[in-house]
Symmetry: D2
Subunit: 151 residues, 4 copies
């Protein structure tokens, strides 16, 4: 359905540089695993530093990596120089975040001129088994020519 | 519209103890400002540690304090011993998170037996002026008798 | 927070003409009750023609009037000639739609250049008492210069 | 990921009987095309009776069939006697509803004890070509033993 040919041949370097500039990802300990046209995977090792009150991973931490995965999946398909901002997202939490590591896999559903719809599946990896624990859908906005907003 | 009389006279102590156990809030630097029946306010000083790539506060950090504010607003009205989990939330981002401090004010819209609907307004405080930058609506679930889940 | 001064002095006539052109509102039996800057109220008499399987008003019928109320609340603040399209909405259903009449009250939360955030409260009127049964938040897009899309 | 074995061997008859009792589907002219474990397809011929102001299919009509498709996909996996209610849904609208027919394909993402997450893809069929125009995610609740709520 989608045109998944990147308009920017340097899309991966651009996404990696932008990710490295997200202070929150560093603070949470998240890393960028994979970048391909329309798809991005982010990984987050579990620790008490990202927990909620019962010791599960906080919904906000899951939302953070899921939002970044959706946003960067969108950015892989945007024109050079365009920046990406999240207009809105919704996340459904299916099961508690329990496990050694959380993985967020974002993918573009539809890339439009201004708005892109992307979806992220979040999995908990626990004792070698992967279980889906959350689903995020996000509307991302391409921003061009606004001061301070690129990539 | 709502019955805002707490079923737990110790609701504030319970919310404060639970908030203190959220590792993510400590990691982000958030603090619990105010707790009253059906309402909770959380404050987050801005720093590069919670930024996205343009230097604004990351949507995930805003979602984290907004989700906690909604969840704890719901918890103020729950029975002693009940735990609160987020089933889903949606956040609309109205403006970039720019300012010295972000404030999330959660309030209960409707407290049901199992499900509670709450809403959080997020404001940026910049040079003494407050501006709404996000709106979150969340469905919270009361959990009773599940091992490891209370308050 | 919002600039609620209509950019179009004929905003009410414009909204009323557009509403009259919505075939779905006619089919459902909905009527436009009130139009003011940033606010629109729509009313829907209950009947089996709009029911779900248990005899309650179908969530889709509630969503339909709530979406129209949000969209027209946004349109009251848009420039002459601009059309309004819904980019996305979320609806939380708080209680079954039971009663003689359903009322949707939409209001603008933030009117931006391209995107407007609006919220609609839906009430059931049953034996003279009003009860909130749903809450919708919607992102509306102003569309200019696209063929076939105005008001 | 999901247990897609129906707990009710008569799941299809049950879904078809419930659909037939939805007055709104009759009013809109929608029909139930396909029912299988965890999946339901609903079709809606286009007409001015379901339009918005520009002549496109109204977002509320799309949401109506998408919500029913998600709800019935969930119902195929529920126990005999359980009823299904929508707790919330979100719909992203990707393109205007233009075409001879709209098709909503709902599928269960995760069936839990009380809450089921389902997703519906909505397509416009225009001159023989199918194009995705909307994506809905819904939280459905299984209701047992509540008067007036079954199937």
């Amino acid at each position: 359905m989608n045109e998944l040919t990147p308009k920017d041949p340097d899309y991966e370097a651009r996404v990696r540089a932008s990710f490295a500039a997200q202070g929150l990802m560093v603070t949470l300990g998240a890393s960028l695993v994979r970048v391909s046209p329309g798809k991005v995977e982010i990984s987050l090792p579990t620790s008490t530093a990202i927990s909620q009150q019962h010791g599960f991973v906080h919904a906000g931490a899951l939302a953070s990596i899921a939002d970044s995965a959706a946003g960067y999946a969108a950015l892989t398909l945007m024109k050079p120089g365009a920046g990406v901002l999240t207009a809105e997202f919704k996340i459904n939490l299916l099961a508690p975040g329990i496990g050694e590591r959380m993985t967020a896999r974002g993918r573009v559903i539809k890339a439009g001129r201004t708005l892109t719809l992307a979806q992220t599946d979040v999995f908990a990896i626990h004792e070698g088994r992967e279980k889906q624990i959350a689903l995020l859908t996000a509307t991302l906005m391409a921003v061009e020519g606004r001061e301070g907003v690129s990539s």
